[in-house]
Each structure stands twice: as C-alpha cells, then as structure tokens.
C-alpha cells in the first residue's frame, strides 16, 4: 500500500519538486524565504494589524458605536448599491463582450480589446474627471440634466458611473481567456444540432466559464467597494448623501476622528479579506475542476 501511494504521488510532485542539485544552497533558501516573509509582514500584515488595533483601541463599545453610526450605515448602503449595480452591468457586459470576441471573427478585434481595457489603465482621478467633463456644469448636457432635475456630478448617479467605469473590464477579462482557450468547436457542434443561442450558452458555454465568472464578480465587487479616487472626484462629499465607505474613512480621518476612521476601515478590510479567501477557494476549485 505504502509503496503504491508514494508511486502515485511521485510523478505529480516531480514537475514542481526540484532535483537536489538545482535546489540551491540551503542558506540562500532560508535567506530568500525570510526576506519574503519579512517584506510581506511589514508591507501587508502590519497595516492590517494596525487597522484592527486602532479600531478597538477604545474598547468594543466604542467600536460598535462607530460602526453603527447613521452616517456610516448610510455610507455602507450606498457602497453596496454602487457595488451591486457595477457587478450587474459589468457581468452583462463581460458575458456579451467575451462571447462576441471569442466566438466570432471580425475586424478590429484587437482594438476592441484594447478599448475595453482602457478604464484600468487610466488613473482613478482622470476617470472622475472625464465624468465631470461629460456631465458637469461646463458640459452642454448640463442644461438638459438640470431641466429634468437629474444630477450626476456630486450626486449618487455619478458615484455609480465612476464605480462602473473603474471596474468595467474586470469580468470580461476573466472570462475571455477561458473562452478563447476553449475554442468554438463545442458551440458549433451544438448549433449544428439545432440548439438555440440561450441553450448553447447555458448548457455548453456557462459550465466552462462558471469559475472564471465567479472570480471576475468577486474581483469586480472588491474593486467597486473600495474605489476611492474616482468616486471622490464625483461625490462632492455631501455627508449622509453621497459618501461611500471609503469616503467616510477619509472624512473621519480628516476630522481627526482616528478611531472611528479605523473602525469604518475595519468593515472594508474584513470584506477585502473575505473576498481574498473566496477568491482562493474559487481558484482552488476551478483548478481542480480543470484538472479533471
């Protein structure tokens, strides 16, 4: 039994496990691992500990008070609203765009992909700026918007637009490589047998991209919740109205209310950590499924 077991494990390990000669000296190994752990501890873990430590500095009661503050709860709801809308729009976009790009041949495909990726290469401040220029006071659209009393800049719609913009390619970017690797054979075969578009998508395509889609949604949600720069430009910081959680953190910190600022941060931090864990699980399952 034991022999059989090692035999089954060996070949799999073989590809990643390095031969003793190429493993390098033990000293180098220890130095590099220590350096890495130290670097990540100082750069990533310490800030997290700081957030927790500062949040509970004045005790749990104060923490609870800061977290359940009306303004904070309002900010949380607005953040969730923007996040949900961004996820929905970008999922719809991501699915259609990835389908169009991976399943059909057409001219200008590369250009289209570049355009879709544009929002992530633009500084968040510029992302905010372009919406201010489009819908702000100096824009020709402004008078129309004023007529129908629909404010975008320094109002909730602006925050939502900014959030959608900065997360725009997140989902298509995750699905696209999977669909391209899969090719078009299966869909062609299904279409040939008379399957309708929705059937093809649901039965053939969706199972392939399921994990990439979930992963993309998770990434999109994470970024949407945490977006600061672009939202900051468009928000106007009207307390209780156009303030998302990250902006609430900024306001509290600016008012020297450090403890509450960290308490609000801790909500975002917990969300971030949960997202990372979900991501790891999704990736793990996805990889295992892929190997099957």
């Amino acid at each position: 039994m034991a022999a059989e077991k090692t035999e089954r494990v060996m070949p799999r390990e073989g590809s990643t496990e390095i031969h003793a000669d190429t493993k390098g000296s033990k000293a180098v190994r220890i130095i590099l691992i220590t350096l890495s752990v130290l670097f990540l501890f100082i750069m990533l873990v310490m800030p997290l500990i700081t957030v927790i430590y500062e949040s509970f500095r004045k005790g749990f009661g104060e923490y609870l008070k800061a977290v359940t503050d009306d303004e904070t709860v309002g900010a949380l709801l607005l953040t969730l609203e923007a996040t949900v809308i961004a996820v929905i729009i970008n999922t719809v976009f991501g699915l259609f765009a990835a389908w169009a790009i991976s399943k059909f041949r057409f001219r200008g495909k590369k250009f289209l992909v570049t355009l879709i990726d544009l929002p992530v290469t633009v500084s968040p401040i510029i992302a905010g700026l372009i919406f201010v220029l489009t819908f702000g006071r100096q824009s020709f659209l402004y008078s129309y918007l004023e007529e129908i009393d629909f404010m975008i800049v320094y109002a909730v719609p602006g925050i939502i637009l900014a959030t959608v913009f900065v997360t725009f390619p997140f989902i298509s970017r995750e699905i696209l490589p999977v669909l391209e690797a899969q090719g078009t054979d299966e869909e062609e075969a299904a279409a040939l047998m008379g399957a309708r578009s929705f059937t093809i998508f649901r039965k053939i395509t969706l199972p392939h991209i399921k994990w990439a889609l979930i992963y993309g949604i998770v990434l999109c949600a994470a970024r949407a919740m945490g977006e600061f720069g672009a939202v900051s430009v468009l928000s106007g910081h009207l307390r209780g109205q156009t303030v998302t959680l990250p902006l609430q953190v900024e306001i509290l910190f600016g008012d020297n209310k450090y403890m509450p600022a960290f308490a609000v941060s801790s909500i975002l931090m917990i969300m971030a950590v949960v997202i990372l864990i979900v991501r790891s699980i999704v990736e793990f399952i996805g990889r295992r499924k892929g190997e099957e």
């Binding site: 691992i33 399943k103 401040i125 510029i126 220029l133 998508f201 945490g226 941060s265």
Partner: protein, 276 residues
C-alpha cells in the same frame, strides 16, 4: 457589405450590447475629454503644465513611482521565486496575501500606512528616534506606492517561472555553471519580459495612484504633492481647464508605458514562437 451567416448564434446581439455599453461607459466620457481639450489652445495647456508647482508634482510622482516600482521589481522576483520553487509551511497563505493590495480599498491602506509610519506609529517611532521622518515625506509616498505595486511583478513572473523546466537548470549545472551563474545567465533572461511587463504595469498604476498616497503624503506643494492630487485640487476649485491639461500629460505617460509594455510582449512572443 456582404452578409455572412455565422453558425454560432448571437453575434449581432452580443456585439450590439458590447458596443453600446462600451460607448456609454467609456468612449463618450473619454470623448468629452477630447472635446474639452480641443477648446483649449496649445499655449494655454503649456502654461498650465509648466507651472513650477505642477512641474514639481511631475517630479515627485515620477521619482517616487520609479523607486517604488524598482523595489517591487526586485522583491517581486524574489517573492515569485520563493513561491514557485520552495516549499514551506504557510506558503499558500503567503501566495493568497499577494493580492491584498488589489482587494484592500486604497483609503484603508492609506490611513493604515499613515498611522504605522507616523512619528508615533509602530514603525515610524523607531525611525523617529534617529531623526528620520517617513510619513509626510517622499519616503512615505514611496512606501504607499510599494504597497500598491506588490502584486504586479509577482503575478507577471510567477507563471513564467512555473513554466521554466528545471531540466534547463540541470543542463546548465551539468555543464559546470555555478548556481548564481545559472540564475543570471539562464533563468533571468527568461524572466526579463515578465519583469518588464510587471514593472511597467506597476509603474503606470503608481503614477496614477491617489487613495493610498493622499493620506501619507502630507501634500506639501513642491515637496510631497503628487500629480493626481493637483488635478483633484484644480477640480475642487472648478478649474476644469487646468485639471484637463494636467490629466493629458498623465494620460500620455500612461499610454507610453502601455505601449512599451505591449512592445516588449510582442517582441517576446516573436522570439518564443519564431517567424515574424
């Protein structure tokens, strides 16, 4: 135009949805930048971007982003190496943690780093004893940018390193090359394109970064004021022309970086796949 019938259904609708959403969300807003710029004269733009305070902000942004990205390039290779080649307890957690700067809202990172590196903070107080200030200086900005840029190089190098066959190194070893030489001559050249790509992406991100920097920077004009912050303050004063002019410079820089990254990737695939 000849209508081609495609066997897989849904081209019309998926292209329609894609282009509509893309236009509404990305193209029209970006176009408004172009429209707005076209109303300004070149000298107007030039006057804005050559203001001493703006020039100083370019310098601060460039230097801090460059140093941070260089440090990340070195650390990124080491981290990727450790994560791919070594086995040790807690490796999975370390690997998952790399993504934290993507997931953690920048504002949270910003205030946490500020408190950590201020004179009374855990790390800041150690340096304060020697009279070194970190928060509210360019060093502080650089640290925030290092935080932001960690995942880029690691995630670019990791998959390439995974694909390098250990046989390769064994071959070099058999030929008598020392370990360090093997790394320098055999492995590193394989990694260069990935390192440059990661470096370029991190550098681009750092130039535009706002949230994590704004708290720790101190925002002293000429000293620790980064370019995105100047745009922000111009916007708060409703000076859209100045904001747009400065934004154009940033966009230009971002596109140049993107172009170079693409160039490296294209060249690299050419070398690997051969042909032209």
């Amino acid at each position: 135009m000849k209508r081609k019938k495609r066997i897989i259904p849904g081209f019309g609708i998926s292209m329609g949805v894609t282009l509509t959403l893309l236009s509404l969300m990305v193209l029209i807003p970006l176009a408004s930048l172009v429209v707005f710029t076209s109303k300004m004269s070149f000298s107007e733009i030039w006057n804005v971007i050559t203001r001493p305070r703006v020039l100083a902000s370019f310098r601060v942004s460039l230097i801090t982003a460059l140093i941070a990205s260089l440090i990340n390039a070195v650390m990124g290779v080491i981290l990727a190496w450790v994560l791919v080649r070594y086995k040790f307890p807690g490796k999975r957690i370390l690997d998952g943690m790399i993504e934290l700067p993507f997931a953690l809202p920048t504002a949270v990172a910003g205030i946490a780093l500020t408190s950590l590196y201020s004179d009374s903070g855990w790390i800041g107080s150690i340096f304060a004893k020697f009279g070194i200030k970190i928060a509210y200086t360019r060093v502080g900005i650089t640290i925030a940018l290092i935080f932001i840029g960690i995942p880029f190089v690691v995630r670019a190098v990791q998959p390439v390193l995974e694909k390098i066959d250990p046989l390769y190194e064994e071959a070099a070893g058999i030929l008598g090359a020392s370990r360090a030489r093997t790394f320098r001559k055999v492995i590193l050249p394989e990694l260069y394109p990935a390192i440059f790509t990661g470096f370029g992406l991190a550098f681009g991100r750092c130039l535009g970064e706002y949230g994590s920097v704004v708290f720790i920077a101190g925002n002293q004009p000429y000293e620790t004021e980064i370019t995105p912050l100047i745009i922000m303050s111009e916007l708060q004063e409703y000076d859209y022309s100045s904001a747009t002019a400065i934004a154009l410079v940033m966009l230009l820089a971002a596109f140049i970086i993107l172009f170079l990254v693409n160039l490296i990737q294209i060249r690299n695939t050419k070398i690997l796949k051969g042909g032209n």
